[in-house]
Symmetry: D2
Subunit: 356 residues, 4 copies
């Protein structure tokens, strides 16, 4: 058991604080002889990197990853792969004022209560900076999964503004700074988030991640269910408050007739009339697209003063200056994709172990 | 790693199929010298037991639990506690017709694809019968947590009919067969579910589980987050398609100002102005109520014919007769409570291990 | 983590006390569609069963195993296999006198100190009765390994009397009640152990277990080494005080020249001039026989009075009557074989997961 | 599950190859607010460092450790502690000639067979260089255990020359380069090892590690036994072929009367007349010294030509030049101490979790 590891056969352990010398991870269980270079990982990290538009934190981190072990001449060796990213643009002074004060909605209070000590610099371990290592591990997971499996994420809601699914165009996600598949929604969000940004406020969001090409049979009853692992993986991302698979909460309103994804014989296997199940039945993949959505709350680091308490128990107010994301949901898209990749890689190996 | 275990220090391993001789579990890690008798467990099992109203399956199982190890003279000894329940009311003939046919929305197809073999009798391992052992384990978890922590579940939505939270009355949940805290909603549901039942259809539902009295400090960054473990626990329950904590998906629509639970000095510690966080910040409990909701899809066992395929790949139609729940969400309430208890007991021990 | 489980992908959890209603285990991770009946397991249990000669405990336990889950029509289904054996010949009165007194060399004192409670009836959880479930699990492990891998154990030393390895004859182990491969040694032991038995004393022993046919490549650096897992597996057997692989402690006296198992090209792969490594290099199997030995201390249940203390701290003497083994090493032979089988089955699956 | 992690609540994951840019580890589960600086760790690393006498490898590694996360202002924060040591004195050319040839007694052949790829530079992952991180982790474990628990190791046998236990003097281990507690034996070993070194040969050894001050009650039945975990920990050290607890293999020759450690009432708890059990009964500590011994084979890197095969299967001979230890057992002493510390720290937390 490790509080800072996830996965079983594809197992990732992350370490590091927002303002320490570096962050990193150890990825164990990778099959041998997979091509893997730092560039293969960097390409995914660059998508999550802060400071790429005015809608994400202005912290400037090159996030340059180094492979410290586990490869030889561009191939994985089957031994643990250690990755590290140096922290470059730390400005600890920005955070000095919150050393003694708990930001509402942040982990400040709970860390102090649990441990009796807290690395207050930039949120320490609770910083979303940790998610860079998830993206790095996800890059390795994608190598394991191979080209036959495609994992794509999109932002589908910002505040109360959802995309129109009739407008969905995967190509569109590269045309706006939001990973938005709906050009109209993207235009609306731009206005909305400019207002939010200028007022020093923030907004929540919903992310959808889809994995295509996953064969039927991955996942395992009863506590190794693919959807249970996906739920934990997504919920472990900073600020996530909800996770759903397929029809999700909407399924509560369905009748059995509406919900059943009918099956028929197709040319290359079973066909389904719909995908309310989100590609998972009884915790095992059905061969359909795996569909996961998760909700991200608005960041609590805002310019409007909020009531709170100090470490010594006295009442006070706080304004969090720092450099923050008006909508942390944006950068959560590549993180969600990475967690999907890691869970699938783990279950691919688990399935191979038991079923050959 | 075990696909059929959950928890780390309070660790539960379940076994058994719907129509095998028995189902059971092994609970490891229980502290010694806790009072524990079969009656302590039976009382919770009786709440989940089938056949208690016309709104749940008419299968008649006494679900009498036996303690096979781990106690001496009414006290736990610290060694593994084995529990078993004999299966009594199996009618395998009911299920003979689905031996060769995959029920849409069921795990039939995915089990067969994964394992190349499937216990078709009553769903085998994928049957909700397995959840009886969760409830049994939850009874032990409650003993560990002690009387200071209260865990209560309620059904808050059936189909598209949600409770009115202004009417919430915990006492009410014992006055109707739905664990419904709103008397008006309960009356509506009775009508709705009678219609559903008579027409051989089914409906989804949403369950809310609240734990009060949990001290601040349980849970752990980053992959041992309390909410990540709760998400996995709830998502692992049969038919669950979504999990949310506190404000959940609604938090996506919030601004940072709306979402922040402001803090102030109270008489016995910190007070919060609201609980959008659902009692968890940074994966660690804050001392507020832990609030979890999960969505259950309608059962796929319905009387309306649905298109599907046979094991040999040919198209067919299926009507699932058997004895089923018109709304499986009802019996999911005690199961959700049990999973909350198990996750909390595990984290209580995990916190004690690291932080003393 | 579970204190009562071992293995990772082939994972066994045992439960039960010497004088409770039953003992049992849950075996998770077994590949599907393996032929498995109760008879397949019973045949191995019968080899370990008490009361088969005058040299083992006279407790009469039929040790009849029941499969409670995880198979269908004689094939494994891939879901957890639960096994149970009812305890039949409990005579709790035999042990009443040790309820308040700690037997030297037994776990009585440490259990009481750890847990503040102890099932004193027949040793409770610390009884060697638990090893029956290891043998049962080992029978399933052998099915996974298949016929190409042969696992055989022998008693190679009783007290200070070792076998003469020049006399080694595997067929001989079925001709005496000791699993002794040397007919001369067996004759000597018979005399020795009759004396020991009559005087109410006991003797230690050394067991050797050999696995043939294991392919090169199983095991994993650095903490998943095959020999590290074997060491833990054997040391976890009751009364074991030492484990060695290949040349073992004798290797300390070797020079590098003596120790090196030289290699040469053979018809079907590499040949080794010797097997001091015991078939494991760098924690990974080399294709040679896997050779493990372990030492078992003499049972502490003897008729000679020994000084000890009572639960209340006062000095006393104790004579342990009950029904005990003059040499517990004898019945440890099938247990050692079973642990070898379980470790190998686990590593077979682990290797397949990572390396395909 | 991770092949490169050990421990459960005090959990260490190591990474790195002999000739990669660095080696490191992540230590998770450390309690918060323990004083910890790099100097606290360095002091133990310096004891294991190569090149300290003519009897160990002449590779010159300063082995300077850096703490990359998990501490703040000299105190642990409860989050994962990442440690790294840069590899400085790599001479890859030394090893070029073994790229295509398997050294007998080394892991070369098994790694290649398992993974189909091998980092041949200095043994890659199979190098004893990995043990530096065990020593580093052990330094943290000692902090958890506190000053009340003393862990000391000694070399007790080199080749066939054992210490005389009547001469045992703990102070003596600092007066010779062997950690030898017997001045006479140390003088003999000096002569022996000079001969071995000059002839380019090597010798095996036996190490003993003793932990004093461990309270009764740590460890857990049945597969979480303290001795089982110690056996795995020691056997996972490079070149170890045998592990024993207390009387170890000698216990096989004992009668029950000889073996029993009799108990009597002492001033501050139970007293034992002897310690054949090595401080562990039923897998749980008894309050006596924990006594472990392990045997290390001679290194296979010797100057005498040995027969072997090349990667392409052809016969050849090999002489391993490089820079090697004539007796790797010497540097195994601090490694054995570290493993003892890690296992005890883990079990301290495990005991606290379950028993408070």
């Amino acid at each position: 058991m490790s509080h800072n590891s996830f996965g079983h056969l594809f197992r990732v352990t992350t370490w590091g604080e927002s303002h320490g010398p570096a962050i990193g991870c150890v990825v164990d269980g990778t099959p041998p002889r997979l091509p893997l270079t730092e560039a293969d990982i960097q390409t995914w990290l660059d998508r999550r990197k802060p400071g790429q538009s005015r809608f994400t934190t202005q912290r400037r981190e090159p996030d340059t990853v180094r492979i410290l072990s586990g490869t030889l001449e561009g191939l994985t060796t089957g031994t643990p792969i250690a990755l590290a990213i140096d922290n470059v643009d730390q400005r600890s002074k920005d955070y000095g004022d919150i050393k003694e004060t708990y930001r509402p909605g942040h982990a400040d209070y709970t860390y102090d209560t649990k441990y009796g000590i807290r690395d207050y610099r930039g949120g320490g371990r609770s910083s979303a900076r940790e998610t860079a290592m998830r993206v790095a591990a996800g890059a390795i997971a994608r190598k394991i999964l191979g080209d036959g499996i495609q994992i794509r994420g999109a932002l589908v809601q910002v505040g109360s503004q959802a995309v129109n699914r009739d407008n969905w165009d995967w190509d569109e996600i590269h045309n706006n700074p939001f990973w938005c598949p709906d050009a109209h929604a993207a235009a609306d969000w731009e206005k909305t988030l400019d207002d939010v940004r200028k007022s020093g406020s923030s907004l929540g969001a919903v992310i959808q991640v889809i994995a295509s090409g996953v064969p039927a049979g991955w996942g395992a009853p009863v506590y190794g269910k693919l959807d249970a692992d996906l739920a934990a993986a997504m919920m472990s991302i900073n600020a996530v408050k909800g996770v759903e698979i397929g029809a999700g909460f909407e399924a509560a309103s369905f009748t059995g007739e509406q919900n059943a994804d009918e099956m028929s014989a197709g040319n290359d296997g079973v066909r389904f009339s719909s995908n309310h199940a989100g590609g998972i039945l009884g915790g095992i993949s059905s061969g359909q697209d795996i569909v996961v959505r998760f909700a991200v709350k608005p960041t609590s680091s805002i310019l409007t003063p909020r009531k709170t308490v100090k470490k010594d128990g006295r009442d006070t107010e706080i304004v969090t200056k720092g450099r923050h994301d008006p909508c942390v949901g944006i950068r959560a898209v590549p993180v969600g994709e990475a967690m999907m990749a890691c869970v699938l890689a783990d279950h691919m190996l688990r399935h191979r172990a038991q079923c050959g």
